[in-house]
Point group: C2
């Protein structure tokens, strides 16, 4: 069976000509446009002041309560949930409650993670706990999680029950992943396998759910849903590998994060972990530097040059190249999984194009 990507970093070359004609921007916009009104109506159900706090988080209003047209993120998940319904032969509309439920769970996790991690900025704006305080970040996160389940279960069908079960399982993995991520901070060494497991939980599981939830709501059987989840899970790992690259070498103007963002936060992300595992002089030098950093508070006052030194060592030890190849490996496995599901060729081309987009994106 031919795969569309190599494992040694050569460019992605589409095997299916239809993939080239997919308009990714339009696909993402459709997901955003079709789910947005339902998402807003769901958030409007929250009791004050939680509705306002949630509206701030989603970028619909600013900190003073004035209407805003914030950056709601890339909206890959809603696009996937609608395609998921179409993959099962249903209308894209069937996937909308799934798209909204997944977005609610994703944003529940962002609200809580930003507070736990002490992150002050998200999508170029102050995080909710900075603006509205920790209690509101906890409370509104809880409310969005509950709302996600409520939205699905009030459909009242057997399919909705199955969809909610998949969402709940994904949410538990998401929480496991955050627990692992936090525990890594307190450890000297993390293996590549542990890092991949954490990222699979933290990013793969919910993306997998986004790709199965529309199909389940559209009546797909469990095997089809599992296969779509395999695509989504590996797509999530590819997505996260790219995120880890952007977290060190991304353009701040594009990502909305600081330069060397993940190094500032001493994240044991894939490039770091892979570089430390690689062995050799650069790897050892990096290990010594990071061990010294771990025991000091100086990282907060590092110059750009000190971060650049660490980034260069990660690259020299092969961590950047390994992570880049890992993104392509996961991309290939994701595409491979799509072959296991019978679906309209148009939808297959769109899911393939979305996977390509995830790997080449700059933000």
């Amino acid at each position: 069976m031919s795969t569309r990507t190599g494992t040694r970093g050569e460019p992605v070359t589409p095997a299916n000509p239809a993939v080239d004609t997919v308009d990714i921007a339009a696909l993402l916009e459709r997901g955003r446009d079709m789910s947005a009104p339902v998402l807003r109506a769901a958030v409007d159900r929250l009791a004050p002041p939680m509705d306002t706090v949630a509206a701030y988080h989603f970028g619909w209003i600013d900190a003073q309560g004035r209407p805003a047209d914030g950056d709601g993120g890339k909206a890959v998940r809603p696009a996937l949930a609608l395609l998921s319904a179409e993959a099962a032969g249903a209308a894209p509309e069937v996937g909308i409650p799934g798209a909204v439920a997944v977005e609610l769970v994703h944003n529940f996790s962002l609200l809580h993670d930003d507070l736990m991690d002490g992150d002050e900025q998200r999508r170029h704006r102050d995080t909710v706990w900075k603006v509205h305080g920790p209690a509101q970040a906890i409370l509104v996160g809880d409310a969005l999680f509950a709302l996600a389940n409520e939205l699905l279960l009030e459909i009242g069908t057997v399919e909705a029950g199955r969809a909610t079960r998949r969402l709940t399982t994904a949410t538990r993995k998401l929480i496991d992943g955050q627990a692992q991520d936090i525990s890594f901070e307190h450890r000297d060494r993390v293996t590549v396998e542990e890092c991949l497991e954490m990222e699979g939980n933290k990013t793969g599981a919910l993306l997998a759910c986004a790709v199965s939830i529309g199909a389940v709501l559209g009546g797909a059987d469990e095997r089809t849903a599992d296969t779509l989840e395999a695509y989504g899970y590996h797509l999530g790992l590819a997505f996260q590998a790219v995120d880890d690259l952007l977290g060190i070498w991304g353009d701040p103007d594009a990502t909305g994060k600081q330069t060397w963002s993940d190094l500032r936060q001493r994240k044991k992300s894939l490039p770091v972990v892979a570089a430390l595992a690689a062995g050799g002089p650069a790897s050892e030098k990096l290990g010594e530097l990071l061990a010294a950093d771990a025991g000091s508070n100086d990282v907060d006052t590092f110059s750009e040059e000190e971060f650049a030194t660490r980034a260069a060592l990660i690259e020299e030890a092969g961590g950047r190249e390994w992570t880049s190849q890992e993104a392509r490996r996961q991309h290939a496995v994701a595409i491979e999984a799509l072959h296991g599901v019978d679906m309209p060729e148009k939808v297959r081309a769109e899911l393939t194009a979305l996977a390509d987009f995830v790997v080449v994106r700059k933000r």
Copy 2:
């Protein structure tokens, strides 16, 4: 129709002789014993260190990880969930997943509320955020909430879907109630109606769910479930009125809280709100004192006498008596609701006896 209680504070006099023979301790113990192994197995599913943190919260281990035989609370909810199954003619075992799911949601809310409220003690022990840090309190709370839904949905029946929907609705109300409770702290005045609405959300909704969830799992129709919820909701309001009395005048040895606990926390609980609404010299004097307290930090250093003065004014203004009567009013409405459901007389007597227990308890 005869009710078993007056509305003017006379003692509860059972109309149903069978109620007198109910062994409340045995009923609570049954709920605890039958649900405990399933609860423990559910918590064991959590990834480290969340399993350990949850075990500490439930009192199974101490802060050093040594086995402990902690006070797991009164266990009214599990007892109700098993009776709920029996009310629908099912075996008590049918209610077990419901009992455990409700306990998980209850404890999710305790973990998050203790952190949001800054409460350092619960059940005579340091709270989770004090021992394991805020991040673990958030994370383990999230995990328990997800686990509750997972446990019910993996049953895979239509009934389980309906049960999960009721639990999710109750959880949303719980969160609404906590949001209202927090907002009250920043307000000078709260009406009795607002306070009752908040307590209905924060305490009534989940107790209502405990009383319906076993029946729903046992195949009860929606009307029966709604009627059982009415009993549980008003039982919850009675429970909370008693809690509010214990929060001011409770015996610290019995409650595990400090003397004048709710006054120390400046809680706008029912006795306070009712006293302020009553009018008259004591009410006005109380209003002046509390308004002055609100603007100062001296409350933290108040002597026992200063709290005693405020408690005496609440009592003089009629807040204590009103709340005591309110507990009996809600108790009567709860018992009344039971008449709307056809159930075995033994179960009716047990639900009635549990309602009596809730109103006369000292902890």
